[in-house]
Symmetry: none
Subunit: 128 residues, 4 copies
DNA sequence: GTGGTCTAGACCACG
DNA sequence: GTGGTCTAGACCACG
């Protein structure tokens, strides 16, 4: 599967969320694909099952996966998510914090744009 | 001073850090300017003095402010911070998470670039 | 564990820092070893948990220990720390103060060298 | 006179103590020499008079200066100070902390000895 | 159970 | 008056 880094700043459940999202965006996981059960993934990543549960709950709330009782958990069929203003505001705060840190490291606006463009491109690079 | 938002995802001390950084970047606070004492700022924001202390300690470690014994706390004289690879890697992870969230909201690469450009520009608007 | 001396000139959190550093240097604590949890150490030393937290935070900043979310705190895997000129200058000032005190007690250069050699040797005695 | 560095880790009163001790050790100030009055030194260094008072009190307790009522303050006539075991123990703790810091910066015993020798020599270099 | 955040409040060192 | 240290204790996030 994918690696969990216990030293990562992000909590483990967020790493799981980010990894699955990334695989969906990159097309590695496609709508209808089954994802491992909570217990399977927990043992694959050697993390606590509660941690995977938390990640799956959030992914489900975000309509990225869906659980069908008795059958398992699957990648949802894409429904472009509508813009949530509160969430967007939180993202902006995060971006602003990152910008300030980069500013202090001497990054110009162009440097920042270059950085984020590269990140976005790597994400949606067709069939990675 | 500036508002503390208890509903903000960021802890209070981080909001304080971000706000002061922002004022320095925008040139509202200049090198040598005195910032409110721990107790003053605490009562202005109606937060506990320890919370302000924590924010100030981190700002001091980042060389953004400096404390002069018995006199108070001041904006540091700029010393361009050198790039820390570990820190940069953490920022990249944060940017990637934000990109994925924005992608799910339907933001194209151009939209994301526009968004971050606006944020960066607002930050340095008044020739810092 | 180790004793806290309330009469010591150093604050408690510094005594904790120094004690753990010493155990690491002496090889009593090895990379990967778990150190007591904040609460455990606090009750062992009968000090407040916040005091231990402060010591651990500084040790973490110095890359001597690392915290793994929900699992505990561990001795870091050694990464030789690079020389920080500012820090070195501070150490030199401290050494100079000590030298002057010793000079007044009648210590010759050879006495001082003998003293510090003994201290250093006791530190690394058991092949760390 | 001598410079006070408000950014120095040492409190101002300690800087004053250290500076006067240093001048005595180096022979710049000799037994019987008059030192500035508290108010004079305070205005020379632009520090608070209480700070100078504190420094002078400690220097007097250490028999390095002596105050003659109505006449002023003078460098004391040398009387080799006897070794105070408690004080020596404190110095050892300080030296140990410094050794540990230097050890973490990669200093060998020889490096540390070289460092402290240089500091001691610069101190007693005849007529600096 | 683990550490992180925050409060209220005391006391101290420095100036 | 300024920040630094420390306590007691609450509540939260993560696992």
């Amino acid at each position: 599967m994918f690696p969990i880094d216990v030293r990562d700043i992000r909590p483990i459940y967020e790493q799981i969320i980010d990894n699955i999202k990334e695989q969906v965006i990159k097309g590695i996981l496609k709508p209808g694909d089954q994802v491992p059960s909570v217990r399977q993934l927990a043992s694959m990543l050697t993390v606590n099952a509660n941690t995977v549960t938390k990640a799956y709950q959030q992914l489900e709330r975000q309509k990225i996966i869906e659980t069908i009782r008795g059958r398992g958990t699957f990648i949802a069929h894409v429904t472009t998510k509508q813009v949530n203003e509160d969430e967007l505001e939180d993202i902006r705060k995060t971006l602003k914090s990152s910008c300030m840190q980069l500013y202090y490291m001497g990054f110009s606006k162009e440097d920042v744009v270059k950085e984020i463009s590269k990140i976005y491109e790597e994400l949606i690079r067709e069939e990675s």
